[in-house]
Each structure stands twice: as C-alpha cells, then as structure tokens.
Subunit: 316 residues, 2 copies
C-alpha cells in the first residue's frame, strides 16, 4: 500500500453488475420474477449499488426487455442506488423515465470495438454523453451520470489501445457532463502495472471524478487488477455474482470479477464492503434457480470461509 | 508499486513445484517416464528452478518413490536448480546423496499442522533444520538450504496463526542454518494486506534471507497475494503448472497458484520471468498425458494470450 492510502477511506463500494452485464451475456433470458428475486437477495446481502438493466431495443437484447419493470422493483428497496446501462439518448430517456438513480454510458477506447458495440465512432459517443447529460438536466437533475471507458486496457479486435486515447476520452466524457468516469477491462487484457498507470493518470486528469474499476477475470488476473486499482485510490469496484458476464461483441471476453471472491478479498484485508458474505453466497441460489445449468464461478463459495474468519457484526 | 521497488530487480524466479507439491496431492502415481518428460518440458519452457521430488518414505507417499531417479534426470538439464522437499534429516541425507542443488524444509507455523504434517512439534522441526544444515555442511556444502514456513497465513486446523509465531520461526530457521526462508499459504487463507505485513516483517527480521512466496489459489486470491508480495520486494514465487497441488493433511487446501497465469501476469507487467509462455502451455500436454483425466486449472491457457501480445525475443 502506498503512502497516499493513509488519506483515503478504508471502505469500498461494490457495484453489482450481474443483472445487467451478467445476464446480457447469457443467451437465455431470465424470467422477470426470477430477476426480482435475485436482485432482492443481492440487496439483502448488503449490496447498495446494482446495475439492474440495460435500456436497449428488445430486438437487440431480449434479455433486457423487462428493464422498466426490473427498475420499478429495485426502486422499492430502500437505500439502493438503482443503476442502468444506456448506450444512447433514447435509452437514457427511457431509463430516466423509469426512475433510475444512476446512468452508465459505455464509451469504447477502441475505435473498432466502439463501432461493433454501439455502431458509433468514439467521437459520436462523446456527443451522445453530452446529449444524455442535457436530458438528465431536463428530466432528472438528481440522477447521476457515469461514463465507463470500455476496452480501456486492450481490445480483442484492435489489440493494444493507446493509453493517451483512454485518458483523452475520459476527460472528454467529464467535459461532456459525466459526474464520474471509470475504466473497464472489457476483454480481460489488463495487468496490474497497466492498472496502476492508467488509474494514476485518470486521477491526475479528472481528479475526484475518477470512478469505478470494472475488471474481468478472463486470464485470472481480475482480483490482482482490483488490488492494483485499490492501491491507486479506486474505491468503487464492479463485480458480478458468480462471475457471470462478458461482452457479446468482444469474442473470448468472458467473466466479470466474481463478487464473492472480491468481497472476501476486501473483507479479509480489513476493508469494509458492507456486504454479508454468508448472505452473498446465498444469493447464488436465486441466480441458479433462474438460469438452471448456467455455469457460475467463484473460488470462495466452493472453498468456504477460512476457519475462525469473523465478519463485522455490523453486516447483520 | 512503492518507492522501494526502484532499487529492486525487474525480474522474478518462478520456482515450479508441480512435480512435488502437485503430484503428491494427487492420489494416483505418475509413471517415472512421464515425470521425466514433463520435467523436461518445464525446463524447455525456461523454468530454471524445479522442485522435482519429495524425499519421504515410499509407504507414506508412493507418488515420490522414484525421487532419486527423477533427481538424476533433472541433474542432466544444464542450468537447472534441482530442488527437493525433505521433512527430516533422513530425507535430507538421501536428497543430498542423490545430488540435489537445493533442499526445502517445511516448518509449520501452526502447532496442529506441524504435528499432522511431519509428526513433530515446531521446536523439534527447528532442531531438524539444524541437523539438516550440519549434514549439508558435511556432505554437500555447495547445496542450498531453504526453509518454508507453512500455514504462515492461517491453518484449517488451528484457524488464525499469530504473526509473531511466523516471524520467530523464520528467524530460528535462519539461526539454525537455513540460507533463505519463505512463507507459504498452505491452505489458501492469505489476503494481500496480510501478505504485505508478513513479508515486510520477514525482511525486517532476516533481510536478504527472505525467500519465496508460496501461494495457493483456494479462494481465488493467489495472484493478488503474489502481487502484494512483489510489492514488498519478493522475487521468488512458487507455482504449479495447471494449478496442481495442495496439502493432503490440510483438508480443503487445494490448488497452488497456476504457473501459466502467474507468468502471464508478470510478463504482461513487463517483469521478466525467463519463461516462454507458448512453451509453458505446451508443457501441459505431458502433464495431462501422464495423469489422464486429472483436472488442471488456469485461465490464460483457456483464454489464450491477448491479441498483439509479444513475448520478449530472448525466450526462444
């Protein structure tokens, strides 16, 4: 841990993305009632930010056709920040009308991935962020707007992604009206040295608007990359229960960081997550019941907690 | 990375423990010819320290009955440090007579694990280290002697292991004649904050005699723990091809850190390992041929290397 750590909070926000990033990468569609049950279980475990849906045309992602209904349920859970992904202003309008607390807009640092994922150039996406920020001001000024720079650590189509591109886009997102901007390792190419460099540059460029680390575990480095981000002062981490998820437009990009393992890592380090590990593991049941046979990952659920491991009493 | 890093080498030694730690935890016995083929493949990939066997009575570990023959083969590979585990002076004598370059002696920090693993108290094990050091001086003064503090981060029998016990034992091992002393997370309980603390204290206590980090991936934190150890100046890392391994006397302790993922992490970070990743992945073939059906792990072999990832030309 570097010297800077002393000034930073000793707690993190785990932003659960399974109901969006996870489910959208699974070919089958989870029934709405099962989604609601799963989201409630995640909330009961102590998660206080959940990306519950993606507002995209149902013909593209039938898994997300019930987005408004899912948001409505999530809004009934007190203290939960209800988040949705929106690729464009149309999606943003629907999401804001549905009442979400926070929008996240993916902006690809890779030109090739941008076209494949949202059929827009990177410059067009910055305009989209700007339009979404204007909509937010008009419709729901209290809602938060996050931009997530996807393929920030490399791209299965383009290969290497210049770090200057990533930092420039992040600054443009903030200038366009985003409240925070995070970095996503969409395809699992990141390594800890790169995570150190990029989050350090991000903080130097946009200060406190530097947002979440969204890491995938494609090559097993997910938690190591989260640790590197933590060391750079990152305090928001995306993760997916059971490691569900990936990116349908980035071949070979499988598996978000597993929420259970990430929460265990931080709690074992003495970093507060607000999440009760026993209840978190219990939240795998509704996920598995809603998608029978779908593979779920995670080493901590399989191995169990260490003997004598005691979780903070506050998470009852 | 902390400030101290600037003064430290930008390369690591990956110490492959699969032929010992891996094979001894598998119930079946790999045929000697298969072991030799596997060890050659590991060597061909660039690994320059391999723990090839354990010198223990064959009735306890039939998997290791061919230890002397395996050592003889490994000694034929130029530049390879041939290492063997020895639990006591009798094993050390056989290993030194077989010609190994380096002995490793496990010393449990957990009193309960010490009795279960080697049927000796921790104090008796320090005496054993002393006797082995005397034997080494008499029989093969050029051979190196390493002590590995097992269950240094917790124990499935005892639960928490006091950090003072770990550091005291390490100092006693060095005083008894060990050239270096490493720390082992035998049962996969370690977390990065603890790894930082313990390796920092180890270095403060025994200086340059601080040795390898031996991490397991039981709860998915293996690479994050290696990264924390790297940040504390550790430059020797144990790992097992395909994540084979565990500890037969520590229930639930499965899986060494996967060599393929660890090498990928360091190489991607720009840290030299001397290991050719393509050849390393090819070394899974003789492992799997020698133990058909045995599960092997590793995310990097499954996902492949990132597009545009180029390995140092020097590792041809």
């Amino acid at each position: 841990m570097n010297i800077m750590q002393a000034a930073l909070p000793n707690h993190v926000l785990i932003s659960e993305v399974g109901p969006r990033d996870g489910l959208q990468s699974v070919s089958r569609t989870m029934a709405t009632a099962d989604k609601l049950r799963w989201i409630t279980a995640l909330y009961d475990a102590g998660l206080r930010e959940i990306e519950v849906a993606s507002f995209v045309p149902a013909k593209h992602l039938p898994q997300m056709a019930d987005a408004a209904e899912v948001v409505q349920h999530a809004l009934s859970l007190p203290g939960l920040t209800v988040m949705a992904l929106v690729p464009n202003r149309r999606g943003a309008q629907s999401a804001l009308e549905a009442g979400v607390h926070k929008l996240t807009v993916p902006v690809s640092a890779s030109a090739a991935h941008s076209l494949a994922n949202v059929r827009k150039t990177r410059e067009e996406m910055i305009e989209e962020v700007s339009a979404i920020a204007a909509l937010r001001r008009a419709l729901a000024p209290q809602a938060k707007l996050e931009a997530g720079i996807s393929t920030a650590f490399g791209c299965t189509m383009q290969g290497e992604v210049p770090e200057d591109d990533v930092i420039r886009l992040a600054a443009q997102c903030v200038a366009a009206g985003a409240d925070e901007c995070g970095l996503s390792d969409t395809v699992g190419y990141a390594n800890p040295a790169q995570v150190h460099r990029l989050f350090r540059r991000l903080r130097a460029e946009i200060g406190d608007k530097a947002g979440a680390a969204h890491m995938h575990n494609t090559r097993g480095l997910g938690l190591a990359n989260c640790l590197a981000a933590w060391d750079e002062g990152v305090r928001i981490f995306d993760a997916s229960l059971g490691g569900l998820g990936g990116c349908p437009y980035a071949p070979g990009a499988s598996g978000n960081v597993v929420t259970e393992d990430l929460v265990f890592m931080f709690e074992a380090m003495g970093v507060s997550t607000g999440v009760n590990l026993a209840k978190l593991m219990a939240a795998r049941e509704p996920l598995q019941a809603g998608l029978p046979g779908e593979p779920v990952y995670g080493m901590t659920p399989e191995a169990g907690l260490p003997k004598g491991f005691v979780q903070r009493a506050a998470y009852a």
